[in-house]
């Protein structure tokens, strides 16, 4: 981008910054505002055009005044000349005022527009981050729930092993193991919607203190898993 000499500052923003959601629209808008601001600051833009247009009535007034009948050296001839010249000066000043006013409007509009683009960028990125986070949370909860179910299955397998070792005395342990199965947040949790199948003759309440039953019930990062307990 060529460096231009501006009265105030070089309003070089940046665009094409990345594949953010809405980037193509934001960048186009940003470039428009930047170019508008540069044209206005460079002094060759719309402000001068407005000044030129506004100068036309003043020039017309001067022309009308110069065609008015007046006797050379007659009464009031000096006032006529002075009045016409004053009108011309005022007309030119008014024309430049309009031009500067137009520049002001352009500058303020462009700055506000570019600021709006920055805000839109921020909202876009913030929204994208929230969406990503929700997606990651859902994925991790799903995986952790499955992880808990797998742990419960492993625990149940251990108890089945002890059942064989004790010749049937550990049947309640099997029931306790099944009660933990499917209580996570993973895909196996669907199996826990109806009454848990009861194996064995009765449930040993002491089994409810199984470490897996306590797992996730605190305030730590695993606490989300305690929702169904």
């Amino acid at each position: 981008m060529p460096a231009l000499s501006f009265p105030f500052a070089n309003p070089d923003f940046f665009f094409g910054v990345g594949p953010y959601p809405g980037s193509s629209m934001f960048d186009t808008a940003l470039k428009f505002y930047q170019d508008e601001l540069k044209r206005s600051e460079a002094g060759g833009g719309l402000g001068q055009l407005a000044a030129g247009q506004a100068a036309a009535p003043a020039a017309g007034a001067w022309q009308a005044a110069t065609t008015g009948p007046s006797a050379p050296g007659g009464p009031g001839s000096g006032d006529l000349g002075y009045g016409a010249f004053s009108n011309l000066m005022r007309g030119q000043s008014a024309a430049r005022d309009i031009g500067r006013g137009e520049q002001t409007n352009i500058r303020q509009g462009a700055v506000k527009g570019a600021g709006d683009v920055a805000n839109a960028y921020g909202e876009s990125i913030g929204g994208q981050l929230r969406g990503q986070m929700a997606e990651n949370q859902a994925k991790s909860q799903n995986v952790l729930g499955a992880y808990a179910d797998i742990a419960n299955i492993a625990d149940m397998a251990t108890k089945i092993g002890s059942l064989y070792a004790t010749g049937g005395a550990a049947a309640p342990a099997l029931a306790g193991g099944m009660s933990g199965f499917g209580k996570g947040l993973g895909p196996f949790s669907l199996m826990n919607r109806s009454a848990t199948p009861q194996f064995g003759s009765q449930i040993d309440p002491s089994l409810l203190t199984d470490p897996m039953e306590q797992f996730g019930s605190g305030l730590g990062p695993f606490s989300l898993m305690s929702g169904s307990y």
């Binding site: 007046s70 050296g73 001839s77 006529l80 010249f85 000066m89 805000n119």
Partner: protein
């Protein structure tokens, strides 16, 4: 493409770029160069001028007319510049609000990501 909270530094930097432009504008005096140039010759070298209909404008009249117009235009420029600076200050406030909003969002998003068992936790378990 995955983003992270560092991406919020981009709109922040954009706001800061705009703020730099406005700050420079606020620190600059009104621009009288154009009107100075327009009136400098008339004011410095008043001359006898022919008016409409064969009338004339003597040097004192010319200086008086040009002087009034010149001072009036400078007044308009100063007044307009003041109003524009008020607007620029207001816009700077909005930009500052935007920067604060983006930067304040970063720790909240990071905290929510960690506390909710999000991506970072997932990485710790399986990374």
């Amino acid at each position: 493409m995955a983003f992270n909270t560092n991406d919020l530094n981009m709109p922040t930097a954009l706001d800061q770029s705009l703020a730099k432009y406005l700050t420079t504008f606020l620190h600059n005096p009104p621009q009288f160069e154009q009107t100075d140039r327009m009136f400098s010759t008339l004011m410095s070298k008043p001359s006898f001028m022919l008016g409409p209909g064969g009338s004339f404008i003597d040097p004192s009249q010319q200086r008086q007319a040009a002087g009034n117009a010149y001072l009036g235009e400078r007044g308009n420029i100063a007044s307009q510049n003041l109003k524009e600076k008020e607007a620029a200050a207001g816009e700077l406030t909005n930009l500052g609000r935007g920067v604060a909003g983006f930067q304040n969002m970063i720790p909240f998003l990071n905290a929510a990501n960690l506390g909710g068992g999000g991506f970072n936790m997932f990485s710790q378990l399986f990374g």
